[in-house]
Amino acid sequence: MSEATLPDRATNLAAPAARPRTARRTGAEGPVVQLLLITVSLAFLLLFLLLPLISVFVEAGARGWAAYREAITEPDAVAAIRLTLLVAAIAVPFNVVVGIAAAWAIAKFEFTGKNLLISLIDLPFSVSPVISGLVYVLLFGAQGYLGPFLKANGIEIIFALPGLILATIFVTFPFVARELIPHMQALGSTDEEAALTLGASPWRVFFAITLPNVKWSLFYGILLCNARAMGEFGAVAVVSGKIRGLTNTMPLHVEILYNEYMGAAAFAVASLLAGLALVTLALKSLLEWRYGDAIAAARRH
């Protein structure tokens, strides 16, 4: 009997003591603070993110549909779009392969210099893109260290496609690796060990176990990498030389048009880039909504 009544009394005693504390958290000042915070963040988002985005599309359509089509189908614009797609089509797969290799090395092995490697992977994030571009000019430019050698052998890097690709690869390198490293570290290597003891070859372990385990963070990393590869301005601007129809990417094309007071055309091309951003955002949200748990481990950084 006494055993049965004891817990009851304990909860009765604890309840009144606990009530004021919980009341404070969700009560009086709670909603006001909540409302304030939500208002501030919403106002910020509206003013700094949504309005500019809308204005891009509004300005793009300001001269009507025909002008918009004209702006994005004229030869220089088409060349810029094709160049941007080409650069991304080379830089992104390259970074995927190297990013996976780097993440694999860091997550699954212990070796000296590992911390240095991790810092180096982050380097492109901490260096201004303009510097990244300048580095390549210094290395491969006409007055650069390797300039004479390249010139003698007829290899063009700066003010040509290879330079654009190099600069883009440098700037977008961290995206894939940084998505994968924490996820792979969290997973550990027991799955791989299990597969090896079952007799799988290293290739089979990679394609049947490792890759499927991290596929969502990989996809996520590719999305971000691609968005940046297509949108990169600073580093590309330095190495491109902005030769219309030849080394002009979309972001550079937008700037040129704008500087030449062709606002509507500039915004028309910009709207394509903005559209890409929106598609990336939508895919990312879809991924998170659909595979939130699987991705959660990858986002802890």
Binding site: T190, D191, E193, A194, A195, G199, A200, S201, A208, K215
Partner: protein
């Protein structure tokens, strides 16, 4: 199918940590051996070395007559069950179990129908029929454990290695799975080595128990051997509770202070010694020559048994005694206890 495993003078070091020191162990074909020890004793390292997941700094492991250093992981044909199962999350139960078969070189790979048939048979063996299409996340801990075992058995291993097979399960399921594993072993007859830190599990399940401590093999023997005749004080204390009495051995008798408490000692080791006595090897007696007087200070319940704590003059710790009858002394009662079995280790 079963093969003998011979471990010869293994040394293993991780940076500054000496994980294994000169460990040698012979495992008979079809034997079920437990590697028992506290955490950090090197038992899991030894298991991983047998598997080939770690390389020894010195010494070697033989499967039958084959030196495993010459064998690839695939050729070792070991079934390894990981502590947290390591089931492939992106594959169904059937795909998990079939993985080893599908990983074989094309020439040795069974066809699709054969694989399906074997997966079905294995699921029946581990008593999980009709779970082929489930994903590991949809299974309970005990079910995952058995799927992991089925997956390991699928490659028809020469040796089955289990790392803390019941570590992540709750007490009730542990007991059930223990009996089931014992039964499975007697039916399939694989040479099996499992790692555990639970002495009860090791003693109940294994044909022989190998006790590791700080990277050294302390003792190997049948459960009865190691429990009744521990080779070292560590083994004695690790395998179960024991009272430790500082005694002096003269001839065949042990003296607590100047009172003889145990006779008939066979080891001829005169001098100071520690006498280890398990709680159920103490009993209440009436006045007899070799008995220890004391006062009952505490009565407790330990599962099925009741335990009395007895204060004895000259001992800093109370003696623990398991009561065998329902008749219990009162607290404060003066009693006499007698040692029925003990192990002595010289302390000088």
């Amino acid at each position: 199918m079963s093969v003998a495993v011979t471990i010869e003078a293994i040394d293993k070091r991780f940076l500054a940590f000496q994980a294994l020191r000169n460990v040698s162990l012979d495992i008979q074909p079809g034997e079920l051996v437990a590697l028992l020890g506290p955490s950090g004793s090197g038992k899991t390292t030894l298991l991983r070395l047998i598997a080939g997941l770690e390389q020894a700094d010195a010494g070697r492991v033989l499967f039958g007559d084959d030196d495993t250093r010459d064998l690839s992981l695939r050729d070792r044909r070991i079934g390894f069950v990981f502590q947290h199962y390591a089931l492939f999350k992106t594959m169904t139960v059937a795909e998990n179990i079939a993985f080893g078969l599908r990983s074989r070189p094309r020439a040795e790979r069974p066809d699709g129908a054969e694989i399906t048939r074997r997966v079905k048979a294995l699921l029946e063996l581990v008593q999980l029929p009709d779970l082929e299409r489930r994903y590991p996340s949809q299974l309970s801990g005990g079910q995952r454990q058995r799927v992991a075992l089925a997956r390991a058995l699928a490659i028809e291993p020469q040796v089955l290695l289990l790392d803390e097979p019941f570590g992540a399960l709750d007490a009730k399921i542990r007991k059930d799975l223990r009996a089931w594993l014992r039964d499975l072993h007697s039916r399939t007859g694989h040479t099996t080595v499992f790692v555990t830190h639970d002495q009860e599990e090791a003693l109940e399940l294994a044909d022989r128990v190998a006790i590791l401590h700080e990277g050294k093999l302390e003792q190997v023997g049948t459960p009865d051997d190691v429990y009744d005749h521990p080779a070292t004080p560590f083994v004695c204390e690790f395998l179960g509770e024991a009272n430790r009495l500082p005694v002096k051995i003269v001839g065949s008798q042990a003296f607590l202070g100047d009172r003889p408490v145990l006779g008939g000692l066979t080891q001829n080791q005169s001098g100071p010694a520690a006498l280890y006595v398990r709680p159920h090897h103490l009993k209440f007696v009436d006045e007899t020559p070799l008995s220890i007087p004391g006062v009952v200070e505490q009565l407790r319940r330990t599962g099925a048994l009741r335990r009395a704590e007895i204060a004895v003059a000259g001992l800093t710790k109370r003696l623990d005694l398991d009561l065998t009858s329902q008749v219990a002394p009162a607290i404060g009662e003066r009693v006499r206890v007698k040692i029925t079995h003990a192990t002595a280790f010289a302390t000088a």
